[in-house]
Structures are given as C-alpha cells and as structure tokens.
Assembly symmetry: C2
Homo-oligomer: 338 residues x 2
C-alpha cells in the first residue's frame, strides 16, 4: 500500500516550497502567481494529493467536525424516525459546509467510556438525551465540563449550562392542540400510551395533554410499554383493554404506538373513531397509511437537525451562541382517527 502523498511530495514535484502549495490548496488568492498555481494544481492532480486533515486541524486548532451524542438504552438508537430525520438534517447541513458529523451512541451508565468524551476530536457537541430530567442534567453537566459548545436537542433549557443552546419543537403546544381537538368528543376517560424509556419531549407531550383534558374533567390514565417491538406495544394496550372498560381516547406518544392501538382496538371489535378516538405524534411519511389516517402532529425533526447545525456553525464562527433557546413550531394533522 503506497503511502499517501504529503504536501512535501507536491512541493518537491513542482520545485516550490510547502508554503506555496498550502496557499494553492487552500485557495488563497493573494501571493501566488498564476503559473505557479497552475503547476501546483497539476501536481496535486497527478499525485492524487489530499491534504491530511489531522495536520491541518492540529495547526489550525479546528476540527471541522461536530459530534452527536445520542444517549439511549436501545442499541438500535437510530430506529426512531425522529432521531433518523434529526441526524439527516444535521449531517446534510454540516456536510454542505465542509463539516463532518461524528456519531456516538452511548448507553446510560457508559457515558465515561464514550470516545467523544474521552478524547477531544470535535469543535462542538450535539446532544440527544433520554432518561429522567435528573439523569439528563447529570450528563449535560458532565459534557459541559469538556468546555466545548453544546447544542441540546429536544430538552428544556437548563440555565446553569454555559455555552449551550437548546433547540426543541413545541411538543407541549402540539399536544395541547391535539387535546383541544379531542374535547369536542366530550370524552370521559383517556389513555396516554408512552414508552418506558423517558424522553423529555414525551414528558412535554403528556403534560400538554393532561393540562387540557384534566382541566375539562377527563380522567387520564398512563400506560407504559416497551417500544422495542410492535408486539410489546400491542400487548401493553391489550392488557389495559382486558382489565378496563374501553376508554374514549387513546393518545400515543408517537405514530407507531397509535397505529398499534388502531390494530388492537380492531381486534377488540372497537371502531375508530366512532367508539374510540386515537391520536399519534410526529407524522413521518411512512405512517401515512394508518387506517383510518391518524390525527397527529407533524414534527420538524429534519428541520431541527438543520437548525442545530446552523446554530452550531454560527457559534463556532462568532464565539458565542446567538440564541440560548430555539422553539420550532409543529403542525396539526386532522386525519380521521378522532
């Protein structure tokens, strides 16, 4: 395996100094004659020279790389479409600006062994954290000690964190809209189905639902389910229906859960929306085919990723975050399931 050519190889080839090659490679207009430039460019082509990022980074003290830390107990941490879209938005924006995205999925309790935390290799860190508020704050503090700028996705602002920006969508507002729409049905009892893995955005959704429904005298039950498989989601809902009267409403924390509910209800001989109203959350494309179409909230995950990248790059350029907190709007999708 041939050694990759360095800037010296190019310089030697042309018979100029490495400084000159560096200028050409970095597109510095001033101080290089057109002839020299052309000769250098030819040599770069010929040798297949690519600047070594490490050398450059070490010198410039910039890595042109952003890390994304996802804290999730599931090894398939990318399975959730919200995360997927977030990552896509982040990666695309960063890539288009010449930055890389370094992925780091870590398990709760394994924070210290994360390679992004143990060694510094990025200009800034983005965080997507599950867990209780207490756990999340512990992780945020740990990461804040690294002294790198931080963008936190989908969590409430933690004022004590320095050099951080919190980007989330209006989950509570979305849930409120959903719940208000449901009040027309004059419900008496509602079930909110959530995953056993706590996510801050879900807390907000549940709080929004509760605030509206309970203020109207609706009794709200909470059902937890293991979200790793649809069967387990369905089982949890099944168990509830086996031991309780059918509720008037089932609200899933996301569309996957809502669709599971549709199926379970059908198996119980219950009609949607006539007997039971069902709502989801997120409205990613492949959920379009729920039958009936879900009443849900369209989340802006991809846009959130882009916004996070933009915010981080702005921070790296200006030395400070322009905002401490960004809240993106969500959008109601009426569907026909409630």
């Amino acid at each position: 395996m041939a050694q990759r050519p360095t800037i010296h190889a190019v310089a030697a080839r042309v018979g100029v100094s490495t400084a000159t090659v560096s200028k050409v490679v970095n597109g510095i207009e001033t101080g290089v004659s057109a002839v020299t430039r052309a000769k250098v460019e030819a040599a770069v082509q010929e040798l297949g020279y690519r600047p070594n990022r490490m050398g450059r980074n070490l010198r410039t003290q910039r890595y042109s790389t952003v890390g994304l830390v996802i804290l999730d107990p599931s090894p398939r941490f990318l399975a959730d479409p919200f995360t997927t879209n977030l990552v896509a938005g982040l990666a695309n924006y960063l890539n288009s600006r010449g930055f890389g995205l370094l992925l780091d999925g870590i398990l709760p309790g394994k924070v210290e062994s994360s390679f992004l935390i143990r060694g510094s290799a990025v200009d800034g860190l983005c965080l997507s954290l599950s867990g209780t508020r207490r756990q999340r704050i512990a992780v945020m503090r740990r990461i804040a000690r690294l002294g790198q700028p931080i963008v936190v996705f989908q969590d409430l602002a933690t004022p004590s964190l320095q050099d951080a920006c919190f980007i989330r969508q209006d989950d509570r507002g979305g849930a409120t809209i959903l719940a208000r729409a449901l009040l027309k049905r004059k419900p008496r009892r509602a079930v909110v189905v959530v995953s056993t893995v706590p996510w801050p955005a879900v807390e907000q959704r549940v709080a929004g639902i509760r605030s509206v429904l309970e203020a109207d005298g609706v009794h709200v039950d909470l059902v937890e389910c293991d979200e790793t498989s649809n069967e387990m989601i369905a089982d949890a809902i099944n168990r509830y229906l086996d031991r309780e009267q059918p509720p008037d409403l089932i609200l899933g924390q996301n569309d996957q859960i809502a669709i599971a509910a549709l199926h379970v209800l059908r198996r119980h001989g219950l009609q949607v929306p006539q007997d039971v109203g069902v709502t989801g959350f997120n409205a990613f494309p492949f959920m379009d085919f729920a039958d009936p179409p879900l009443m849900t909230i369209r989340s802006a995950a991809y846009e959130m990723g882009e916004r996070g990248a933009q915010t981080m790059l702005g921070r790296l350029e200006n030395g400070h975050f322009s905002d401490r907190e960004v809240v993106l709007p969500v959008q109601f999708v009426a569907g026909a399931s409630a």
Copy 2:
C-alpha cells in the same frame, strides 16, 4: 473560554515529562512507578485533561475513525429504515471499540466536493451507493484511488477493486424464495413496483423474482415510482390499475411500497390475498401492522452494519481483509398477504 489543558500542562503540574504522562494516559503498564502514575492520574482529573485526538492521530498515523459515504439523491438519505439500521449497527460496533463513525451523505454528481473525499480523516471508508451499476462503479473507482480500505454494502463484488470487501445480504435468494411461494397461486401476471432511484440490492430482488416467475410463464411488468412520499407511490400503482387489468401479484421492492399497494388495492375494491397477492421486502418492526400482515423477507441490516464494522476493524488490524465478499442470509416471513 479557557484553553483546554495539554499534555504539557499535566506534565508541568506533576513535575514529570510529557512522555511519562503519555504512558499513563495510554495505559502503558511498563516503565512507570505506581506513585508517579497516581500523581499523574490525579492531575489529569484535576485539570480535566483529555488527550487531543489530532495530536495523537498525527503522530500515530491512525485516526480511529471510519467514514460512511451514502450516495443518495434524496437529502433525507437516512429515511430508509434499511440505511438507518445499517448505520446503527455500524456505529454501535465502532463506538464499542473506541472508533468513531463519520457520516457523509453525498448527492450524485457532488462526489468530488464530499469532505471525506477531499481530505483524509479516516482509517477506512464504508460505502452505500445508489445509482446504476455504471455510476456506482465510477464512484467506487474514484474512492479506491484514495488508497484507503473500503467496505461496500449491498453491492456485487467488483473484482478490480483492491483492498475492498463487499458485504451484502442474499437479496436475490430472498426474492427467489418469495417468488417460489407465489407460484402456488398459479399467477398469470405480476407487477413489480420499484423506486426510480436504482439500488443494487433492488436489482437483485427484481432479477430473482423475474427468474422464477418468468420461467413459469408468468408475465412480469415493472412499475417505477418516486418513493419520496407515500402518495406518489400510491399514484404510480393507481395509474397502473387504471390502465390494466388487475394483476395476480404485486411485489414491492420493500414493505413501504407493499403497504401502499395494499391500500390502493382496497380502494379499487380488490381483496388481498384473494384477488391479488402482495409481497414486500425487509420486514422492519414498524411494518408489522400491515393489514393483512405482509408476506415479506426479513433483512439483516443492523447485523450487516455490525459485520461491516467488524470486517473493517479486522482489516485495520491485520493489514488485509480476511474476506473479499460476505453474503448474509435472509429469512422468509409468510404473513398472509399472498
């Protein structure tokens, strides 16, 4: 913002040389007394020292980072669950071994501007390429010129590529199993619905289906659809049904398409599986709830990601790939849609 401490800061603090600190930090057992070690560790804690990866990488000529290049015309290149699971498997395996995964989503025609290609920053590259075979090979050759080890996912082996390993699943075999199962229905006409974006694995699936069905005298039509939204998928199938007699079979290149077909067929008043048999491909969890449950093939995307990571790390350790090609098995899921 305080400058992050370097190895010199730690050395100065303890009153030893940087070489000693380096040994302690890298867990080199030999040649450091227990007392010195303890003192260094204390100082590391106290100062919050993290070794700078760039310095280390530059010195060791290793980056402990693997790049993943995804070539896809859609900016939401991570939307497909196959890719998502692949990335999760890859990232988890790499992270658990102290490696990072650097994501690079590139658009066709923008290969040269990819930051992974322009500057070297990884030990090896993984590729997931869409496009025609000709286009894919052009990209592979371009990337091979970088002189880095390559793991190609879901494509047929290209013998001319040096220092590369091809990892895919038995898409053709899976499609063959599916098609054989369908022969019992004595079909006369089948429609295969594929995305307009060409993917090598899909070519294999179509070839497998064709080989079995056409050998049995079944006429096979191909319908292409834009996969960006479910509506567009449904439209394409709709148009077909409007102009042709209903086929006996509809075979989707994946489950999303098959589910779209289920809905369109229902709207046309056709029963599945009685009037038309439908099959999908991939069998990711959130597709469980198709009605009726899909006959499909379970893909091993997550495992493929893990395997790719393992293969790449083996290559980096041994200097050569142990295999040139790896084919993972797939699994038939009977369902009830055909």
